[in-house]
Subunit: 717 residues, 2 copies
């Protein structure tokens, strides 16, 4: 397996090479005139300042957890945590570093043509995408190599499993902080800036007279770029790790054991290569369809991944016959290959469903635009209706995926489908990360007073960005839904393992688990309690996040009002607003607000365990915690999909007015009309929905699961 | 037990007597001047016309189901269905009959004093309350009497159990149609009328020039009175029935079996008496606090119910020692008494929590009012944040209730707590049903041009009505959360019973269940699939309901605009609008829109069963359906609480502006200010949230459960 592991590491390295090479291409592009560079410089400084502060705060929490992990679980496990956290942070950091440099270059390129603009923006996005996939794969693969080959642990050794889980935990921790902190920053700036600028002062978005405008652009980078990168890094790492843990549980001691351990890594490696090839298919066609250009890349990656999946199965598992037996069921290479195909198909389905629910031109978004004609209230009602409805098809797709994969290859099949789904993360993140670049490019074009056509090009790119952003979130949460079974299974089998070992005659290990009886049946009240309390997490978490955005936005409104009052020259264009103060204010507020809600999913399983342990004993407590893991997925899936799809739909329903929306009676509503104003309300509501609360649910789900796994490991020690 | 059963029936009859007596008192009150009576007449006609049509439509569905039940399960079961459906319809019908007559009398009484107005309105509400509790109790008790004493079935006979479940199904069916149809009607009228009246034409609410104004008042009666009555009737009936089914399962053959079967009925009977006494405590005190007056009634009923519970336990169970053994656990009278107290405490807690989240003067509503100052968008964001957060405390209370009762007296203890909680339904429904009366009274006062002070009195009553309406919904869904375990247990034990009987050597009964193996473990993928698809029901259902309201409101906007155009005299006050057309339009639209979403929870368990049966076999199918029952509760609880509390909070956040809202900077925002307008947007959004989608989730949960139970019965035949 050593050569295969080296091959996998080579593929990860290829992603990094691609990123380095692409960064150079992007940096070589024309960075525009002095005014543009000045604006971009302000955005860059603000973003860097925020991210440094955010990582400092996370660093403090991280050091404490690192120390705790070391003491409780030993150094290899603590190092796993460190690797996950550092690499996740690095992916976001470098991605944002490129993003804040590509924005101005995209604006400049858009002065040449839409195609050139797309090219730079997409390349910048692809850097983040490949860094996420590459670093996550390298982190897991290299650390696994070190543990099993250099430190010579057996692949099924508890230290290896715990270290991999800790790696996932490190990634999750960065992710939840970055998603929330970034989300609060970006939407505080966006909502606050819009309210005081567009609504009160009547100046357009990104007008340089608005003191919050730089903060808004900074927010795009720290939230939509760095935050999203951390989220997907985590989803990727946790899924791969969980699949490997499952392989260790099912196949330890069987002939193909080490091959099956490496198989998920190989799938990811193959998909990295196909994603890289896919990026070269993203080219604006004759019809100028941006979405079409991006789809070419996705489809190319997807189709090539079939071959990649075949190759991984053929070379790693040695063919398509029986490769192992899990829970008494024979698992074949063919079955796993089919499960991988299901993962690819699900990715395609979720992209398609999300585009339907959030794209301009389909019924849902049109219905929201139409309902804006009758006012703010009906716009919001219809948006909420769409957001609720948007959960149906993805859920049915996920359910179909579970039924299909489970019947082909059991739980491990479901895990392989989830892994393959995430294999394409490099490509999907690239689609997403190009959004903040074009959003910024539009802002820079506006502030630097570039011609209207430039803004039109960046706006066209931005509208697609709304959909692709929703797609990525749907994809992340969809994989979480599919992966729910996998994470729960990891918990369940870990628990069974500890209990079995503790109950062996004369056993001296894992005595905490001695005589514990688990009942995960739905007829166990502790299971119902766990489901309900798990179900509460996304709701409470979402409520706190939304309130935080409201508060951050309120503080921006007051700051901008204060500046307008103190410096009357700002509105006349004779005085410069103090952009840095708004950035600084939001930085403090976002960092402060992100801590409490982030701790909710971390502490919930621990508190539940000890409370139920006191009331109903250990068996009840372990059962309740297990149920909490599924409860958080059951409501989290719906909360996250409804928020991210609904928010995307609201945003594009507003965008539909920018070129004039023709309602069902044939009346045309222009920008600035009452209907447009109503659509702006929906967009504002959708902002924290889709960019703060909704996407942060995904890391919240994962972190609850990972903490529960680590809790087992700690209790076992 | 026969005497006790007669005593229970006497208590039920007492509730009916109270209602008859109170109707006479209300009808004797002064019905105001000719103009007032004319307006009230139009409301009455519209409400009656709608209800007739609604019941006709339900009747068609009902006859089909009656016939199906007869063929599949026999006449006694079909009659059970009929009893549940007819009595539920009757409670709503008579309640509304009184409500549309009490409205004008309340308006007239309010010209005398606030206290007089409260008196008439509350009495009218109490009629509905006592009818709901009385008819539900009588229905279950008399039919149980007929089945066991006259037809001489054993209390544990399948026919008795199936007939009781069918009674619950009849009530559920009426409930889901009435909640949805009524909810779509009332909110279509409210939202549409406000949009075109308040926003476009700039005329106040309930202005007689608005052609939708009568429809709006009709809606209060058909939605908030008749719809709510059907909902609570159903919750009451289903809970009592489920508790009795559980008693039959646990205690059949034990010494106290028939006493334990009757015990839940006895608790309800005792609570009816205490509720009736409680109504006499509702008196406006010197401080003119309406909520205070209502609380006196609730507290009196609650405190007296402790004695009632004691008496029921003492006389029916014969004391506080061991009364039976369930699942090997000794159940004592004392334990069940304590569980009853938990039910009472939970009722109090949920009232208190809901008041906190929806009452003017507390942080949540104030935060929404405050956020209106910065605009429509922030108002909606904060409202959504509050709605998400509002789920936390009720969930924790329910979880505590489950843990406490289960540890005292097992599942049957939880069932007794739920039953006791619903025992107070007479009082709680009275609090709620007074809302539409005062709402109407305000409308009539406005349209008849009564002095401003009258409107102020009715508005004060109405503001309290917003909170009490939210309380009732929280109470209904809270009991559903607590009862989730009970309904699931009924399904689980029924299933086990059929399987055990089918597997007996030489058995010829229930052969459909032969060899079926059930696995409700969370590690069973079919369970996860069931949880996810069950979780989808409230979301999809809510989405469809919200869309339906949007559509109904849109049609009203167009109709009103058409009338304004066709009859220019309307706005000048020289021409009379055609009120009946708007009522008629909404009637058609509500009836049409209610059918599809109502069928969703009815068909979901059946479809899921047959699909999974085809894929994974019978055991998997039964497991998936069982999980669906819990899935629908897990998300339904959160969806319903968030919608009803959030909607109530939005409504009162708007009401806070009516006397001028002083924001945190000390600025006063009057009615008509920009902040007030923003608060109207939130109110509009909250309308379908709190009065259509949210409350309909409760019957949707119940119907999914009941259909699953009936499915078992049908498959067993």
């Amino acid at each position: 397996m050593t050569e295969i592991l080296w091959g996998i590491i080579a593929c990860g390295a290829l992603a990094i090479l691609y990123a380095v090479f692409t960064i150079q291409t992007v940096m070589k592009a024309d960075a525009g005139n002095a005014r543009m560079q000045e604006i971009a410089g302000a955005i860059r400084e603000g973003a860097q300042a925020y991210l440094n502060r955010q990582y400092q705060t996370i660093g403090v929490v991280g050091v404490v957890i690192f120390a705790l992990t070391w003491v409780l679980l030993g150094l290899p496990v603590a190092v796993g945590f460190l690797v996950g956290a550092v690499l996740s942070g690095l992916a976001g950091y470098i991605g944002m570093h490129v993003s804040v440099r590509a924005n101005v270059r995209t604006a400049q390129a858009a002065t040449v043509s839409l195609g050139r603009g797309l090219d730079i923006a997409f390349k910048a996005g692809a850097v983040t995408g490949m860094l996420v996939a590459g670093l996550a794969l390298l982190g897991v693969a290299i650390y696994y190599y070190i543990l099993t080959e250099i430190l010579a642990y057996a692949p099924s050794d508890r230290t290896v499993i715990d270290a991999l889980v800790a790696l996932g935990f490190g990634a999750s921790l960065i992710s939840i902080f970055a998603r929330l902190g970034g989300g609060i920053f970006t939407k505080g700036a966006d909502v606050g800036g819009d309210l005081v600028g567009k609504v009160e002062a009547g100046i357009p978005e990104d007008d340089p007279r608005n003191p919050a405008t730089i903060a808004d652009n900074v927010g795009d980078n720290v939230g939509d770029c760095a935050g999203m990168a951390a989220d997907l890094f985590e989803t990727y790492a946790v899924t791969v790790v969980a699949t490997m843990v499952l392989a260790a549980i099912f196949f330890a001691g069987q002939a193909n054991f080490s091959a099956l351990m490496v198989y998920p890594l190989a799938i990811c490696a193959a998909c990295i290569v196909t994603s890289i090839v896919g990026t070269y298919f993203v080219k604006l066609g004759a019809n100028n369809s941006i979405m079409g250009a991006l789809y070419k890349g996705v489809i190319a990656s997807g189709v090539l991944s079939i071959a990649g999946l075949w190759a991984a199965t053929h070379y790693v598992l040695g063919g398509f016959g029986e490769v192992g037996v899990a829970n008494g069921v024979s698992i074949t290479g063919q079955g796993l290959f089919l499960c991988g195909l299901v993962g690819l198909a699900l990715t395609g389905l979720i992209v398609w469903i999300t585009e339907y629910y959030t794209g301009i031109g389909y019924r849902p978004v049109r219905s929201i635009s139409q309902s804006s004609v009758t006012g703010h209230g009906t716009n919001v009602i219809q948006g909420l209706a769409v957001s609720l409805e948007a959960t149906a098809l993805p859920t049915i797709a996920i359910v179909a995926g579970i039924l299909f994969t489970y019947n082909i290859a059991g739980l491990f099949g479901t895990a392989i489908a989830t892994t393959t789904m995430l294999g394409l993360a490099g490509m999907i993140v690239a689609l997403d990360a190009f959004g903040p670049v074009t959003d910024n490019a539009g802002g820079i074009a506006e502030m630097a007073g570039l011609p209207k056509e430039v803004r039109r090009s960046t706006d066209a790119l931005d509208a697609v960005g709304n959909t692709t952003k929703a797609v990525t979130k749907g994809y992340a949460i969809g994989s979480a839904g599919l992966g729910a079974l996998v994470l729960f299974a990891a918990y369940n089998y870990d628990l069974q393992y500890f209990i079995a070992k503790a109950n062996e005659p004369g056993s001296t290990v894992y005595q905490f688990f001695r005589g514990v009886e688990i009942n995960f049946g739905l007829d166990n009240p502790y299971v119902v309690v766990g489901l309900l309390l798990g179900g509460l997490i996304p709701y409470l978490f979402g409520g706190i996040a939304m309130t935080a955005v409201g508060r951050a936005a309120g503080s921006i409104v007051e700051e901008v009002r204060r500046q307008f009052k103190a410096k009357p020259g700002i509105m006349k264009g004779t005085e410069r607003p103090d952009y840095a103060r708004a950035v600084d204010l939001l930085t403090k507020s976002a960092i402060k607000e992100m801590v409490i809600p982030s701790l909710l999913p971390v502490l919930s399983p621990i508190v539940l365990f000890f409370v139920v342990d006191a009331i109903g004993g250990r068996g009840a407590a372990f059962s309740a915690v297990g149920a909490m893991l599924l409860g958080v997925i059951v409501t989290g899936l719906f909360v996250a999909i409804s928020m991210t799809s609904g928010g995307g739909a609201w945003d594009n329903a507003k965008k539909a007015f920018e070129d004039g929306f023709v309602d069902k009676d044939g009346v045309k509503h222009e920008k600035g009309s009452e209907a447009h104003k109503a659509s702006v309300t929906g967009d504002t509501v959708g902002d924290p929905y889709k960019d703060t609360a909704g996407p942060a649910v995904n890391p919240a789900i994962k972190i609850t699961n990972i903490v529960a796994l680590l809790l087992l490991a700690v209790l076992a020690h």
